[in-house]
Amino acid sequence: MWLALLAAAPLSPLTAQWEGMPIVAIYHRSADPQQPPMDSPSFQRLLVQMPGEPFSQDKIRESIQHLFATGRFADIQVDAQQENSGVILTFLTESRYFIGSVLVRGVPPPPTENQLHSATQLQLGHLFVPEDIQSAMDGLRRVLEDEGYFQTQIVPAYQRHPETQQVDITFDVQVGERARLGQVIVTGTPAFSAERLAQQAEWEQGKKTTSSLVQDGLTRIREFYREADFLGARIRIVRKVFHPETNRTDLELDIDAGKRVTIAVSGAPISRSKIEQLVPIYEEGTLDEDLIEEGERNLQSYFESEGYFDAKVNSVRETSGTEDIAIDYQVELGLRQSLREIQILGNHYFRTETLQERMRIEPARWRLPYGRFSTGMLEQDLAAVRMLYQANGFPEMEIVAALEREHSDSKTELMVTLQVQEGPQVRIGEFSITGNESFPAERLEGLINAASGQPYSEPVVASDRDALLNFYFNAGFPGARFQWKATPSEDSRRMNLQYVIEEGSREYVKNIFVDGLLHTRRGIVNRQLQFRDGDPLSQSVLLDTQRRLYDLGLFSQVEMAIQNSQGRENNRNVLIYLEEAPRYTLRVGLGADFGRFGGSSGDSTQVEGKIEVSPNISLDFTQINVGGRPHTLGFRSRISSLQKRAALTYSAPRFLNYPWLNASARTVFDETRDVRTFTSRRVEESLQFESKRSRITTLWTRYAFRRITVDTGSLRISPDQIPIVSRPVLVGMLSQSWIRDTRDIPTDAQQGMFTTADAGIASQFLGSQTNFVRLVLQNSSYHRFAGRLLLARSSQFGMQTPFGKSRRVEIPGQKAEIFTREIPIAEHFFAGGGNSHRGFAVNQAGPRDPVTGFAVGGNALLLNSLELRFPLWGQNLSGVLFHDAGNLFARLRDLSFRPRQKEVGDLRYISQAVGFGLRYQTPVGPVRFDLGYNLNPPQFRVQTEEGLSITQTLSRWQVLFSIGQSF
């Protein structure tokens, strides 16, 4: 490099002669010709020696120091050249490089890409030091050996980018064959044979030696020792010995079983699992006095919480002849008591309810028959109340607790009285903020709690400190400092307070470098950036940008860093490295539907159908990042005995670059018989726009055009209706849905409300053969009470009515025409089943064909559901008591609140069902089982094939399975 050549040249002896000569010009040159010099203003800001000034060796030295301090240069030289009666200086620099992308290629999982990247310890934006590559390779080797690769070859390669001073590093790895497990060698005092331990660990010879195999095996061994009462066993892997000739790895373990420890609790009944939970020796895997004492305290607290408020626990340790250890926790329970009342006296500044919210002790109530009390809990509650007062300016506050017991024949009751002495409140006298040069005091005062007249306390100052430093940090002042001074004023109840801020220098965004894009358009990324060149450097803005980039759904990793973070410069380059997610996904699924789908479709005695399990298979294909945009193309298909469905969807979130507007287009083919009355075939195209202006409110606008055909052979209705109902119908509908969702968790809400209003119109002007309007309203709300109980309710109302001209229906094989305004049967509302009325099987509520008795749906819907949800066992199993009421009606004018039928066949009444359900929490949501009992199932007449009219009643009992809450 030419700088090195220059370095060999002797330094000039002329500097002393140049002292005082005027500097004509100062230039900057980079060693790499591809790298442009610094821009003049930035360069000038760093110099101490300026053009026009006299030559000064000291100033030149200082200028070198300033340039080096930026962290951007590995080497700096200055040359001087006399020009006329002055001197031209040139600063020659060799740039430093910073780490860009780090790729490790050629390694199949395990390990994961993240593990490999972490093993290199090469971080985005950090200084690139070639010597670190060897450490990186050593790290990779360690991770690869953990996963059984002992014969790896790693070849690093670098690609430098002079314009950004970034270097991309690639490690090409040839892993060879993964080693397999050889022998397990155990040294030390294991108490069990190596064969036994290997069997316990499931370490069979020939298995692939991955880290999960080894770690899972160690866990099993530890559990094995624990169950054998070797609670202090020490187990470690000493080394792995690789044999290249056989590609086997021997594991060498060193085990010290220690002494057998048995732990018992005498004097009180307690389960083994509870003992293991309360005595920390089990979890810590070691035995010492501190842990034994902690076990005493935990057991005492436990018995106190069970109502034995005076319980005492004492541990006795015995060593038997074989040096095994027995620890006996001897319990004296004392009387079982209940906490009747908690009285708080002397509090004026805070209301009693405010103090009680911070306390854990509770008086007895139906959910806690003994209340909740222990001496430990009481101490913690006193400390919490004390802290509350002190944080509000009461430094001399005192609180003491007095306990009173009342004994009667059957029980002992405890009363706790807390006496509060608040003492004087100290408030802030004079308050000021100094040192704030960039922001006015008013702006900063809006961020903090302290102000003249407000309560004074150190927690308030600490909170204000955090708020101010956080504000400055996010405004581009990473070196801001905060100090405070409190001086008593003449009034002993006042403290003068001063906040002193040292802002430090402000940092700005210089350039934004984005790397890693293969398919994604750069504009998509740019639109998510919340900062521009020249903006103050703000950590919160960077985090917000990172979140937005993740929200696009295009990237599996979004890494952001500041280039050269250790250098001292005010203008920083921001690095964004993006790893695109796999574009194509193929999913194959198997499932089953359970319900009343089965039975012969022609059997009028089984209009509800028999309970049947219908297996299904689904195939989904998805492509994201379509055209370099955050668009998705998806194909979903599902085949079962109930349904054949295929849908092609194109989704375009952030449509036309509006972040609140999502668009989608869909084509669906669907053939379904989930209504036993008919099998329908539907081909539909739709276009939908979703507008989400706020977090809780969404507006959907949708145009759908569909052709619905009902299979004539499957229709189970009056013969005279078949010619009409079986004709295919074109429906073109424009609809809007308004949704307001304040639920905390949509899949399993604990509080909040969910309201929807859906209105649609099908009209000939929209291409529809049938004209009708539709309106559906729904409101659900969730209310917590008494701890873990939840009352959930949902009400639903729907109606649709035809309007305008009738549509003409040609009867095949006849010359007759029929004009009808009837809404096609496939467009009817259907209700019944796990997600609507649990007194009916799926889609079995409402009007029925007067001849066949099969459900035909309706044009008016009214439903109300009430659920009481409560925990049953642990965190995962809960129960539900429910009441569903409502029905479907043929027309809006048929809607009735009658609690029972007027006569057989009159289905205009409110059907009610009660029931019980179980919910089991899974990662995908709660799995639901409901058992419903219809209190007033419908009675109706059907005609048999022989022409007889018989009365049928739908089943009272319904068994329903599904996933997710019912509403």
């Binding site: 040249a9 330094l11 002896p13 040139t90």
Partner: protein, 216 residues
């Protein structure tokens, strides 16, 4: 010759033999996040020569490795200690004024003093800066290492018997003072020796832990 023709010849000569750019300063070493430049080395060499009453070195002499390396090494050690001092929050007392007076007194008068400064390419401010740095570092080293020095009576006795007495006799001194009279003096010597040894270990440790790069 016509002046214009002379000017053309001169310009032609200059274009054929352009004035050479000279490297006037560069980085010689990086110690942590600090640098040591060639001008630092020159200034240090001149400063040491002034204190030692030697001739100021010229550039060619300083370029020789055997001359450059010790000065560079000393500056690097000073930089390491200065960085350690920052981390330790040590505030030294200001004794450089006294040292400056010591230096002045070596010269018969003010003019001689200022002539000497010019000869060694030093300003008084630069001299004071050097003295201040040295004084601070010496005070910091003493502060850090002196408490670690523990002398035993055996060590003092051994030095008296095996080093001091033989040296005095070698110098022809007949009356060797008793141990009690020279104990304080021996303690000072041994303490200083131990501090030097500890300093050497400390500097080696600092060099191991701090990223150091020397530009050859």
């Amino acid at each position: 010759m016509d002046r214009r023709v002379k000017t053309c010849f001169l310009l032609l000569a200059f274009s054929l033999f352009p004035l050479r750019a000279e490297i006037i300063d560069r980085i010689l070493a990086v110690v942590g996040d600090q640098i040591v430049t060639w001008s630092d080395v020159v200034a240090e060499a001149n400063y040491q020569a002034l204190l030692n009453g030697q001739q100021p070195p010229d550039s060619a002499e300083l370029e020789r490795k055997e001359v450059l390396r010790p000065i560079l090494s000393r500056l690097m050690d000073q930089t390491l200690l200065a960085q350690a001092q920052k981390a330790f929050l040590f505030t030294p007392s200001e004794n450089e004024t006294a040292r400056l007076e010591e230096v002045r007194k070596r010269f018969p008068n003010e003019q001689a003093y200022h002539r000497a400064l010019a000869q060694y390419a030093l300003t008084e401010a630069a001299l004071v800066s050097h003295l201040e740095r040295e004084t601070n570092l010496m005070a910091f080293v003493d502060y850090r290492l002196r408490p670690q020095v523990q002398l035993t009576p055996e060590e003092i006795d051994q030095y008296y018997r095996e080093t001091l007495v033989p040296e005095l006799r070698r110098q022809g001194q007949r009356d060797v003072p008793p141990l009690s009279e020279v104990r304080d003096h021996i303690e000072q010597i041994l303490t200083q020796e131990k501090i030097n040894s500890l300093l050497e270990e400390w500097l080696q440790d600092l060099r191991r832990r701090t990223p150091v790069k020397i530009f050859e």
